[in-house]
C-alpha cells in the first residue's frame, strides 16, 4: 500500500494544471432557463476548447479519440479541473460519461464512427431517457414500447426527468421491444435523434428557481427510428445500459468532490471573517458552527479517501457495487455542507442571487439523494449486494 504519485503522474498534474488555469472560461455558466440555448452553447464551447487542446474524453481509450490516460491520471485531471474552477460538464455529461462509453463497449463500427467524434468535438449533446412516470427506482418496470416494423422501430410512450432534453441532439432511449416481456428482458437501448417527428417535450421546472427548467417529460407518438440505431442486440438493452455503469470506475464525480472540499475551506474562511449573532465575535466562535465545519471538513477528507480507495481497487478489478458507498456518503455529506453554507450566510441566504452564491447550489443539493438512484436504493444495493443480506420479499 502506498500513496505516492510517480514522476510521470506529477508531470501530468503540472501540465493539466497549467492548461486549465489558462483556459477555464471566465464567465459564469448560465442557468438552464427559457434561454436554454445559452447553456448549450456554453457547454459545447468549453468542450470544443478541451478537444482542441487534446483533453477531451479523458477516460476514453485513445483508439476512440480519447486521451486514454490511466485511472490515476483521470483522478488527477478531475482534481485539477475542480481546483481551477472549471465548469461542470453539464449537458455534455451524458455524451462523455455514458452514451460515448456505451457506444465504445457495444456500438457497431458505424455507430462509433458517426457519434464518438461528434461527442468529443463538442458538436452534439446527449440526454438520458431511462426513467418513466411509473419506473423510477424500479427502472426495469419501464413500459415505453418499440414495435419493429420492417427496418424501423415505432416508439410510443413517455419518459420523464430527462435532463437537458430540450437542448439535446440525441437520447439514449431504453424501450421495451418485446411485448409482455418481464422486467429485465425484452428491453433495447436505442439511439434516438431528438428531432424525429412524433417527439414532444414538456419542460419541467425544478425547485431551484423560477427559471430552472432542468429536465423534461418526453412523449413519443409513433416515433420512427431506424432499427440500425439499436445498440447491442435487440432485447439486450438492460445489459447494454449496465455495461458502462462502472466505466469511469469511481472517477466520474471527483470534480464535484473536490469542489465540495474547496467549499468547506471557503466556509471556514467565511466563518472566521463574518461576525456572528452578537455582531462582535466571528461566527466560528459559535460552538455549533465550529463543530459542523469541522465535521464537514473531516467528511470531505473521508470522501477523498474513499475515492482513492475505489480507484485503487478498480485499477485491478472490475468495480463492484461498492461505488454505492461513496455515492451514499457523498450525497448526504454534501447536503449537510450545503445547508451549513446557508446557515452561516444567515439573512442573505434568503436571496436567491446573493453575492455569496450559496443559495442556488443549496437548493440543488436536494436532488443529490434522489438523482442517479435514491439513497434508499443505494442502501439496498449495499445491504443486499455488498453485505449479502437477504433481499426484501418481492411480490
Amino acid at each position: 500500500m502506498q500513496i505516492e504519485f510517480t514522476s510521470e503522474e506529477m508531470a501530468f498534474r503540472a501540465e493539466a494544471r497549467c492548461w486549465l488555469r489558462a483556459n477555464v472560461p471566465a464567465g459564469e455558466r448560465p442557468i438552464h432557463s427559457d434561454r436554454a440555448l445559452d447553456i448549450r452553447e456554453f457547454d459545447l464551447e468549453w468542450q470544443r476548447k478541451q478537444f482542441e487542446a487534446g483533453w477531451a474524453g479523458i477516460s476514453w481509450p485513445s483508439e476512440y479519440g480519447g486521451r486514454g490516460v490511466s485511472l490515476i491520471e483521470q483522478l488527477i485531471w478531475h482534481e485539477e479541473y475542480a481546483r481551477a474552477g472549471a465548469p461542470r460538464a453539464g449537458s455534455c455529461f451524458v455524451g462523455l460519461s455514458h452514451a460515448g462509453p456505451t457506444l465504445i463497449a457495444r456500438g457497431t463500427p458505424e455507430q462509433q464512427a458517426f457519434h464518438l467524434p461528434r461527442i468529443l468535438r463538442g458538436d452534439t449533446v446527449w440526454c438520458q431517457g431511462f426513467s418513466e412516470p411509473g419506473a423510477g427506482s424500479d427502472l426495469a418496470a419501464l413500459g415505453t414500447r418499440a414495435e419493429i416494423d420492417g427496418d424501423e422501430l415505432v416508439v410510443n410512450g413517455a419518459k420523464i426527468w430527462t435532463s437537458y432534453a430540450a437542448i439535446a441532439d440525441y437520447q439514449e432511449l431504453l424501450c421495451r421491444t418485446e411485448a409482455g416481456s418481464r422486467k429485465h428482458s425484452g428491453i433495447s437501448w436505442v439511439i434516438c435523434p431528438m428531432d424525429t417527428p412524433g417527439i414532444e417535450l414538456r419542460p419541467i421546472l425544478t425547485m431551484v428557481g423560477p427559471n430552472d427548467f432542468h429536465f423534461c417529460q418526453v412523449f413519443y407518438n409513433d416515433v420512427r427510428i431506424p432499427l440500425a440505431n439499436v445498440v447491442g442486440e435487440v432485447n439486450d438493452g438492460w445489459n447494454v445500459a449496465n455495461a458502462t455503469l462502472g466505466f469511469e470506475r469511481g472517477t466520474g464525480f471527483v470534480a464535484d468532490q473536490i469542489q465540495n472540499s474547496e467549499l468547506v475551506e471557503r466556509l471556514i474562511a467565511m466563518a472566521r471573517g463574518r461576525c456572528g449573532l452578537d455582531g462582535l465575535s466571528p461566527a466560528i466562535d459559535d460552538g455549533d458552527f465550529a463543530s459542523r465545519l469541522a465535521m464537514s471538513r473531516a467528511e470531505m477528507a473521508g470522501v477523498r479517501a474513499m475515492t482513492y480507495a475505489t480507484v485503487s481497487r478498480a485499477a485491478n478489478a472490475n468495480p463492484g457495487p461498492e461505488g454505492s458507498l461513496v455515492k451514499l456518503f457523498f450525497s448526504e455529506a454534501s447536503q449537510r455542507l450545503r445547508r451549513l453554507g446557508v446557515d452561516l450566510l444567515g439573512p442573505e441566504a434568503l436571496e436567491l442571487s446573493s453575492d455569496a452564491g450559496l443559495t442556488t447550489p443549496y437548493l440543488r443539493s436536494y436532488a443529490a439523494s434522489i438523482g442517479g438512484g435514491t439513497s434508499d436504493v443505494q442502501r439496498n444495493i449495499i445491504a443486499e449486494r455488498v453485505l449479502g443480506l437477504p433481499r426484501a420479499p418481492r411480490p
Binding site: S131, G134, A135, G136, S137, D138, A141, I160, W161, P203, I204, L205, T206, M207, V208, G209, P210, N211, D212, F215, L277, D278, G279, D286, D288, F289, V342, D343, G346, P347, A349, L350, E351, L352, S353, S354, T359, L363, Y366, A367, S369, I370, G371, T374, S375, D376, R379, A392, R394, P395
Partner: protein, 353 residues
Amino acid sequence: MIDMEISSEQRQIVDSVQNLLADALPYDRFVPRPTPVPNADRAVFTQFGELGVFGLGLAEASGGVGYSLVEEVLVARECGRFLVSPAVVATMIGVHVAHFAGDRSHAEAMMRGGTPVAPALAFAPAATHFAGKYHLADAEGAEWALLWSEGGLALAHRDSWHGAQNMDSIDSTLTLTRVAVKDIMPPLRVPAANGLWRRAQLLVSAYLTGLAEAALDDSVGYAKVREQFQQPIGAFQAVKHRCADMLTRASVAWNSTIFAALTDQAEGPDADFQAIAAKILASDAAFRNAAVNIQNHGAYGFTGEHHAHLFVKRAHFLDRFGGDATYQKRRMLAANAPSSDAERSSPVDGLAG
C-alpha cells in the same frame, strides 16, 4: 388540571378556518404557469378579518373576539399547513402591538384585514432597539412591517421603510424586500418585558408546526399510492420509518407549542423557557419533515410543480422571524430552567380564583 385536548368550541374555530382556506387558498394556487408568481393571499385577508382571525385573541372590550393565545395558535398552525403568506401571522401579532401601544384605530383596521402587516426578519435579532436592516416578506400591499428584536416588538409604517430594494427571493411565491429602519424606538411598540414576544414566538412555532404536519400528510398520502416494485412505497421500511419519524417530530413540535401557550396563559415562571423550546423544536420539525417529504416523492418532490419545496422555503423564512435556530439555542441555554418546587401549583385555578 392538565388538559391539552382541543375542545369542541376550539374544533369549530379550526374547522371554519380550514373550510375557508381549503376553499380560497388550495395548494394548486402554487402550480407554476409556467413559472411561479408571488402569492396573492392578501386578497382574502378581509375574509379572514370577517371570520375574526386577526382579532381572535383580543378581548371583546377592545374590539376583539375574546378568545386566547391558544385559539390563535390553532389558527396559525392551519395557516402553516396551507402555506398561507406569513403576513397572516405578522398581522395577528400586529393587532396586539397596536393595541398595547394604545392605537385602537390601527388595531381595528388590522383586525378587518385591510392593512396587512409584513414580517420583518432582522439582520441582527440580538439588538436591543429597532433600527437596522431587515428583510420584509410579502411586503407588497402591506401597510406595516412587524419588527422584532430583543427590544420587543414594533410596527413600522411603510413610509418609514428606507431604501426598499426587491431581491430575488429563495421562495418565488413570497417577495423579499431589503429595507433599513432608522427609528431606534418606533412609536407603536411593546417592550420585551411585556411578554408579547412569547405570543409572537408561539404563533411562529405553530405555523412551523403546520408546515411539518402538512409535509407529513403529503408523504403519507403519497406513500400509500405511489407504487414501485409492484407495491406502495410505504411498504418499504425505509419510507415507512421516515414517515413515523416525521409524525414523531411533528407531534413533539405541536405539544411543545401548545404546552408553552398554556404555560404563558397560566403566567408560569417558565413561560420564556417553554416558548424558546417550542420554537427550536418546531423549526427543526419543519426543516426536517420538509426535506424528508421531498425525498419521499423522488424526483417529483424536487420539482417546482409540486409544492413540497415550499415547505423548505417557508421554514427558512419563519425560522428567521424572531431569530433563527442558532439564536434560539443560545437563548435556550440562557433561560432559567423550570424550577421543580413550583410544581405547577395549579396556576390556572389560582388565576381563576
